[in-house]
């Protein structure tokens, strides 16, 4: 045992090797089992089969292989271990185990646990009491316990997302040990000093804390000290990230290290999607690195977190708060909203420009004293004021609100306060602003009174185009607007910082957009109006881009959250004094966001930035609508190495995790398994199984194998398919259930074209209509490609009319008058493309007298319809050419005209609703009693004589009906056909 670095976990099992001879004997005695076959011509076989020359025993080498396998299994069960750990723990006192479980321990936590387990296992064997302490826990309560209890504590511990507090842990250890001298002190350190400092030389207390704590610990008189430290490079912390003009600027820190190092960063949005990637490079010897993530402007606002790809720690994640929120924009205008002239209203363009990407709130009152507090109560991120002069001093009456009450003056103060707390105020110039005094408190630059006019009648200047955007401003990167010209503007007083505050300027250098920060917020002024009066900027696309960039620059977090908190809390003192944000999502040690647990305390925004710790872990505070990110490191902080002072006792430094003891059990089992596989193959070959397989590789065999594979595949796919089939099952009833009661009838109407007539209620007329339309249908089926179904009588009060291209409506004096609803249904039918053929059937009657009953009835009906101008069918109308060439449309009576919608000379008028639908006239009116001419009995004999009694007149009546139906179905197609010669002539060119 001493010569070989080999130990056995269960050496008693090695006695199993004594069983090997028995196994050998058994193996020799058992010949392979024969394949049993039924075989009828046995006598023939018996003649040729001589003595059985099968060996009674397996070949010796096969037996040896099997013995080897058995020996391997026995050895494996004995749990041999190569290079067993040397006994290192001092037996003089309890084992003190101090484990760093701060953020830096997260990447190799499992190795740390392994190392600690190894120590605990040794302590268990030596029956040493153990005292285990985790430095990053909230409370340190180490007590000397057994190794088993300590192991449970170790398994329950997990890395935390904050810094360890070693001093308090050491104090707790000293208290717990009382006077006992520890035997071995084992420290599993993460190598990062506690506390960060903005400037290392300024704050020197923190390293002293660590060093003093370790000195106190070492002073306990331990006989052996083991320090486990990381061998590789330490994790990296992201200390700052800001959304700069050209990209996302990121700063990272690392421990002092000699070599250069590259790290890769990923920016993700709030759903974890990969938005941008970038790299940072630590130069050799440098502790900090800065870099920029290049991403489009729009995407940068979506970034919710940055993370280092390689090591997943809490410090390697930088949370960006509230960047993905939609901004709320409040609009205030000085001009009264005039809806009849929207293009002149100043807010119209802003509204259209911002509505796709911001939530807009309009002032609902012209009185600013009422409107502004109301808008502020909705917590807008941006307030846009178009042409409003703000009163100069608080308390002075406003010229804008003649009806203002006494507290009118409060709103500029409120607005100013809102801006200082982070709001963005965008103002547009205008006559009112220009007329206001130059001491307006809510403008970024001082303005000259009055406006400048370019290119007017009294001006020498031409209208000015815009210059290229300055690279420092938020508009950098936008293309220079070439087609925007400014005719009027308000001018800024020259000052030293005017250039720095200018975001956009005209070609002659006068500023067009200026901005200035106020507190946490910002005021932006457009020196032109928001409507197109002073310039054509509002009607150009650049206006949209500019507004969009300004709105997305607007700060949302603090103003919103404070306001929310203030409005949420009922007590006035909390609203005034401190704004508390509850923890919402917290980072765990490996940089994942997890729901907040009960340990974290709310974040006090009014106080200084708290040090992340057990009480306030890094994470997001607030709620889903608005939150503030607390990151582990503040901008400017850096990492320092943990310095452990040299103790008096012997010190051993060990790497973490890489225990060199190799358990051989898995390897031995694997070898035994391979031996078994080899044995199986050998037996197969010996028994002729392979050649049998070859000889039987017929279609049957292959199909069986394929079938088995298919079955296995099917079994594995069943769970995957089940949801789909379940979905199908769920979908089937839904698809089946949309059948309605009248579907069969509708389908029947849709399958074939039906001619329809209105059921007037007068039975004689209805019977004539049915017989007439049936007769026409027969004629159509005989003469044309159209084979209509049976004529359908529709009740215009109830039936669906949309199935029928043409509805024949004979007028009858005896019939009840249709209701208003029915007439409006007919109107809707005509608007949606249907046509109605009115037939007054009174040609004879109207010859003598003026207006007959049916005509009057028609007039009443038509008065309820939206009817365009009518005319008798002109000779070049499509109706005269749709199928037959006709010049009259006789029915039972010969000479009555057919009225259709007049075809205007100047094209269709858009106000006529009934003209929709392929240019087909939605109304036809005749008095010739067409149905009576078409009507025939079952034998095909006409029912009514024509007047005069001329057989050709009936034929022409049918032809008129054919033309009308064809016109309904084909529209103006025939009108195009008559132009074919001209078209062909043109094509021929």
């Amino acid at each position: 045992m001493s010569a070989l670095p080999l130990a056995f976990g269960a050496p008693l099992l090695l006695f199993g090797l004594l069983a090997l001879p028995v196994i050998w004997w058994l193996l020799r005695m058992t010949p392979p089992r024969p394949q049993r076959e039924a075989f009828a011509p046995l006598p023939i076989l018996a003649r040729v089969l001589k003595a059985d020359h099968t060996p009674a025993h397996s070949p010796w080498w096969l037996t040896a292989l099997r013995l080897l396998v058995a020996a391997l299994i026995i050895f494996a069960l004995a749990e041999p271990i190569l290079n067993p750990r040397s006994q290192t723990l001092s037996r003089t006192g309890p084992l003190v185990l101090m484990i760093d479980n701060g953020w830096a321990a997260a990447p190799d936590w499992s190795e740390r646990v392994e190392s600690a387990e190894a120590l605990l296992a040794e302590a268990r064997e030596a029956e040493l009491p153990v005292l285990i302490a985790f430095t990053a826990e909230r409370r340190h309560e180490p007590t000397p316990t057994t190794a088993e209890a300590a192991l449970e504590q170790l398994r329950a511990a997990e890395p935390r997302s904050w810094q360890p507090a070693r001093a308090s842990a050491v104090d707790a250890i000293i208290t717990a040990l009382a006077d006992t001298a520890p035997g071995t002190i084992a420290i599993l350190s993460d190598g990062v000093a506690e506390g960060q400092s903005a400037a290392a030389d300024e704050q020197t207390t923190a390293p002293d804390d660590d060093a003093a704590a370790f000195e106190r610990l070492f002073a306990l008189g331990a006989s052996d000290i083991q320090i486990f430290a990381r061998t590789g490079s330490a994790p990296v912390a992201l200390t700052a990230a800001s959304n700069a003009a050209n990209g996302f600027e990121v700063t990272a820190a690392r421990l002092p290290e000699a070599g250069a190092r590259d790290i890769t960063l990923i920016a993700r949005d709030n759903r974890g999607r990969d938005v941008a990637r970038g790299a940072l490079t630590f130069a050799a010897g440098e502790m900090t690195a800065s870099g920029r993530l290049d991403a489009p402007f729009e995407l940068r606002n979506d970034i919710a977190r940055l993370e280092v790809v390689a090591a997943r720690t809490a410090a390697g994640v930088r949370l960006i708060d509230d960047s993905a929120r939609r901004r709320r924009v409040a609009l205030i205008s000085g001009a009264p909203a005039d809806q009849s002239q929207p293009l002149l209203a100043p807010l119209y363009y802003i509204d259209n420009a911002l509505s796709p990407f911001a939530e807009l709130r309009r002032a609902d009152s012209a009185d600013l004293a009422i409107a502004v507090p109301k808008l502020l109560a909705t917590n807008p991120n941006v307030i846009i004021m178009a042409d409003i002069g703000v009163p100069q001093t608080i308390g002075a009456p406003s010229e804008l609100s003649p009806s203002a009450s006494a507290d009118t003056s409060a709103w500029p103060a409120a607005l100013s306060e809102w801006v200082r707390r982070g709001g963005t105020l965008i103002r547009f110039a205008g006559p009112r602003l220009a007329a206001a005094s130059g001491d307006d408190p809510l403008i970024p630059v001082r303005l000259r009174r009055g406006e400048r006019e370019l290119g007017g009648a009294l001006s020498w200047d031409e209208p000015q185009p815009l210059a290229a955007y300055p690279t420092a401003g938020p508009f950098s990167g936008l293309p220079t607007p070439g087609n925007v010209t400014v005719k009027r503007q308000v001018l800024a007083e020259p000052s030293a910082d005017l250039a720095a505050r200018t975001w956009a300027s005209l070609a002659d250098g006068t500023p067009l957009v200026t901005a200035a920060p106020r507190g946490d917020g910002r005021i932006v002024l457009f020196h032109v109006t928001a409507e197109a009066g002073w310039s054509n900027l509002p009607i150009s696309g650049h206006f949209v881009e500019m507004l969009r960039r300004i709105v997305q620059l607007s700060n949302v977090s603090r103003a919103t959250i404070e306001a929310q908190d203030a409005s949420a809390s009922t007590s006035s003192d909390s609203a005034a004094g401190q704004a508390l944000l509850p923890p919402w999502r917290l980072l765990d040690a490996s940089g994942r966001l997890v729901p907040a647990n009960g340990d974290a305390r709310p974040l006090d925004l009014s106080a200084a930035r708290p040090q992340p710790g057990p009480d306030s872990p890094p994470g997001l505070y607030g709620n889903e609508d608005g939150h503030v990110a607390l990151n582990l490191f503040a901008p400017g902080e850096s990492l320092r190495s943990l310095v452990i002072p040299a103790p008096a006792a012997p010190l051993t430094r060990l790497p973490i995790g890489s225990s060199e003891t190799i358990p051989l059990t898995p390897w031995l089992f694997a070898a035994a398994l391979f031996g078994l596989i080899a044995d199986t193959l050998i037996v197969l070959i010996l028994a002729g199984g392979l050649s049998r397989l070859r000889s039987r590789a017929g279609l049957l065999q292959r199909s069986r194998v394929a079938l088995a594979l298919l079955a296995a595949l099917a079994v594995s796919l069943v769970p995957a398919l089940q949801p789909a089939s379940a979905q199908q099952n769920a979908g089937a009833p839904a698809a089946a259930s949309d059948a309605r009661a009248g579907d069969a009838h509708i389908l029947e109407q849709l399958d074939t074209t039906h001619l329809a007539y209105v059921l007037t209620g007068d039975d004689t007329v209805d019977a004539t209509s049915r017989a007439g339309l049936d007769g026409l249908s027969t004629y159509l089926a005989n003469r044309t490609a159209l084979e209509p179904g049976a004529a359908v009588g529709v009740d215009i009060e109830r039936d669906e009319l949309a199935f029928y291209p043409l509805i024949y409506w004979p007028m009858s004096e005896q019939a009840p008058f249709p209701t208003e609803a029915a007439i409006s249904r007919i109107d809707a039918y005509m608007r949606s493309g249907g046509s109605v053929l009115f037939d007054t059937r009174d040609r004879i009657d109207s010859l003598g007298a003026g207006t007959t009953g049916p005509t009057r009835r028609l007039q009443i009906i038509l008065s309820g319809l939206d009817i365009p101008a009518l005319e008798p069918v002109p000779s070049d109308h499509v109706l005269t050419k749709a199928f037959y060439l006709l010049d009259t449309f006789p029915g039972r009576y010969a000479d009555g005209p057919l009225w259709v919608e007049a075809i205007g000379e100047g094209g269709p008028d858009g106000d006529r609703p009934a003209r929709g639908g392929d240019g087909v006239s939605s109304i036809l009116i005749t008095g010739n009693d067409l149905a009576a001419a078409w009507a025939q009995d079952a034998a095909g004999n006409p029912l009514f004589a024509t007047v005069p009694n001329d057989p050709w007149q009936r034929e022409y009546a049918y032809r008129a009906g054919v033309n009308i139906v064809m016109y309904m179905l084909t529209g103006n197609y025939k009108a195009d056909q008559v132009h074919i010669p001209a078209l062909l002539e043109r094509l021929g060119q």
Partner: protein, 305 residues
Amino acid sequence: MAPIGRTVDPAFRLDVLARAQARAGLLPDCLAEARRVANTVIAGWHGRRKRGIGETFWQFRPHVEGESHSRIDWRRSARDDHLYVRDREWEAAHTVWLWADPSPSMRYQSEMALVSKESRALVVMLAMAEILSRSGERIACPGVMDPVAARNGAERLALALAHADMDSLPKQPELGRINRMSDVILVSDCLDDELLSACIAPAAQRGIRGHLVEIFDPAEERFPYTGRTEFRDPETGATLTAGRAETVADDYRRAWNNRRAALAASVRHSGWSFLANATDRPASEVLAALHGRLSGTPVSRTDAT
């Protein structure tokens, strides 16, 4: 590894009733298959093609001096100056005895074969019964059915087989009471050595014409067994273990072929014909050959080894 061959009838050791039921269940399938095969063979075959005593018209031939005047067909003869005699087609009924081997060794099917030997034998027998019944022959089965002339002879034979007590049937057909003008068709796997000496030789001596159809499984001919294999005779239950079966394959095939050649030679020597059919080949092959032998128009003999 699955064995190459199997005994298809699991009811082999069970009681007679169960076996009869299994047999009866097999018969309709065999009958349908036999009909199908018979149709393929019977197509294009027109009766005896001989003149003789019958009812259907065969030919007019000139009257030869000395023939009975009553046989002159006057209607035909009135057309010209010669006298004609109306010949009819020969329709003499003939008895064909069919027999399929019922021994247990027939219930064998290897995975190379399409059907078991028993099934193939029944199909061949019933198909022949169908063909012969349709052409008006009388068919019979020794020990099972007496000679019968009917259009549905195949069904009646199947019915008789279904009702027969197969275990009480002798292993060899009793050909003693068959008269000498009959044909005999024996369908068997010919593994019973006494079949030739006890059955065929005496019948041939009595002048009975016969046909022996050997049904064999391809596994029995090719001997595809390898490795350590224990062979069991389904008839006697005797076992034989070969250490490496592939080593005796060549010897076995030689012995098998020699035995078959000897059998065929002795069968032909006694005036019978010998046909062989492997169960991985279609039954119609042997049926066509058999039909050719029966009707006297031999077809190609490639399949008749």
